[in-house]
Subunit: 339 residues, 2 copies
């Protein structure tokens, strides 16, 4: 490290730096760093891989959530990356950092919750590592199988595509705000928001059905929020986008919490992150068909068109008739204001 | 977590608990938790997977090592797990936790060192995750390909097998002791020991050649030291073992450092860990043949027989004519005395 003029990097800059060191896709790697999953090629063709690192105090707080909730969210976040490709979960690898004097009940609840959720979707925990760490650290690396389908990438969007999302947005952000405000997690008014935060449901059936439909052009999961994830998809597709605020399916639970805490439900829906819903693009005339498909295959899950892909440049947010460049509201771990 | 009578777990107990929750091998998983790598089955047959979590202050100290050294060691430790199966490295996934204000030079050196070492052995860094963390956290998850070979497991040892190791032992432990004592890392007397600690060489050529020979019964890498790794191999094979102290190939560098620091070179060789040499078992009459094979395929790397597999129970250490049950000297992250 040079003592003079050190360069501080943003999260995106670190990812770009690592990607440039790694050298991009090619050879036996169909898709490398930058999508929800890497897509392997050659003898491993049809395999997709994702990994997520979660650190106590950064990604979760044990004061606010049970060990089982933490396990559930960690697994859901990773399964959601597989869903975003249209993959079927196959194998999981868990690295666990634990402070001194780990307790059996804590490990049982944390890991048991991961294992049982994974099993629901056909995932087998196949290996891992356990080490000491000053705080709880969880790394999951999941392998998914595409079978005979092509994975859905962020880069496949086409000019004029409808931009759609599954489910409701903002629930997770509202639930986290509720917990951080020290409110009763069992309050029935906030129960849906708290559940959205602590027990998100990865959209694996929807992701698989959308991949099988052959009508989806681009897909990713909403882990940081529409306001930063849509620009990522648009950029990967070489396009811009228009997002219509009035169309965003804000979770009623977020509205209830917003009223109680004087919070911003639309803000949570756009930038709260961690809703783990799917965002995809398709020909506008296929929206109805795909809506019906998801409703049927994913137990009544809704699909809502929230905007469309444009020539750009950039992504605009249309709100109360006014169209403005979207402010980057997503989560950058290395911004000054990040928690 | 119950407030009364909490159960503190050792590292081995945590691994056993996670393994019991995960449910063991079967179906599309040939080998699950407990070997150096998981061995996948079904459509992913021939793939092996390993993952390792390293935490600053527990596994490495940035005061003692350069970022490039840390990157090298992290990658080497994981590559060594692939070597232990006889696999060829294929894909790597890096999760990186970094404190606030990450610097470009630090990330470049750390990741660049991983990438270039991986590339030497055919590994492609294909994905990852970057997050904020109070200290540097590194998780690598590597996929290796067996091609048409069967992976070498810890459990294949047979009664009467010779127990052999590659290379020299104790160098890494001596190097770490040297650095921790605040001695000059560039002192020529300690250079080999410091290099053994900071720049271990994963034994991929040797591992592959041993797997190809068809004569090796069991194999694993020495990450915690003979004193704890041999008991693991013996137990996995349902046997005991006899380890002969006088046969252990103690690194000359460890002897030099031991003299300077009044340390114990044999102790480092048995329990210092992180030498990342291979330990394997074979029919005693094949030792010479395999020694020649490794020397030829792995640029002069030595093979030494250090003991044999016995009926047991347990593992005995023979030293100065006396045979005694081996003390468990390996590294348990959750022992009271662990760093």
């Amino acid at each position: 490290m040079t003592p003079d003029a050190p360069t501080h990097l943003s999260e995106e800059e670190i990812i770009n730096l690592v990607a440039s060191l790694a050298g991009g896709a090619g050879g036996d790697l169909a898709v490398g760093i930058g999508d929800d999953c890497a897509v392997l090629g050659g003898a491993q063709s049809g395999l997709v891989v994702t990994t997520d690192l979660l650190v106590q105090g950064v990604h979760f707080e044990l004061e606010l959530m049970s060990p089982a909730d933490v396990g559930h969210r960690s697994m859901a976040a990773n399964l959601s990356d597989l869903a975003a490709m249209g993959a079927n979960p196959a194998y999981g690898f868990l690295s666990l950092g634990l402070p001194a004097h780990p307790q059996a009940a804590f490990v049982s609840q944390l890991v048991g919750s991961m294992v049982s959720q994974g099993r629901t979707y056909g995932l087998k925990l196949a290996g891992g590592d356990t080490v000491k760490s000053p705080q709880v650290v969880i790394n999951l690396c999941l392998l998914g199988a595409m079978g005979n389908l092509e994975p859905l990438l962020r880069s496949g969007g086409r000019l004029g595509d409808a931009v759609c999302v599954t489910g409701l947005l903002g629930g997770s952000g509202a639930g986290l705000a509720w917990l951080r405000a020290g409110r009763d997690p069992h309050d029935p008014d906030a129960a849906d928001a708290v559940a959205a935060h602590c027990r998100p449901v990865p959209r694996l059936e929807a992701g698989r059905a959308l991949a099988e439909s052959g009508r989806v052009h681009a897909m990713m999961d909403l882990s940081d929020g529409l306001a930063s994830d849509l620009p990522r998809l648009a950029r990967a597709s070489g396009l811009g986008a228009l997002l219509e605020a009035e169309r965003v399916p804000v979770a009623p639970a977020a509205a209830v919490v917003a009223e109680a805490l004087q919070g911003d439900a639309l803000g949570w829906a756009l930038a709260g992150g961690e809703d783990f819903e799917l965002m995809f693009t398709c020909d506008p005339q296929d929206v109805a068909l795909l809506t019906d498909l998801v409703m049927e295959e994913a137990a009544g899950l809704a699909v809502t068109q929230v905007g469309r892909l444009t020539q750009g440049p950039g992504v605009n947010l249309k709100k109360q008739g006014k169209e403005e460049p979207i402010t980057y509201m997503g989560y950058d771990h290395f911004r000054e204001s990040a928690p």
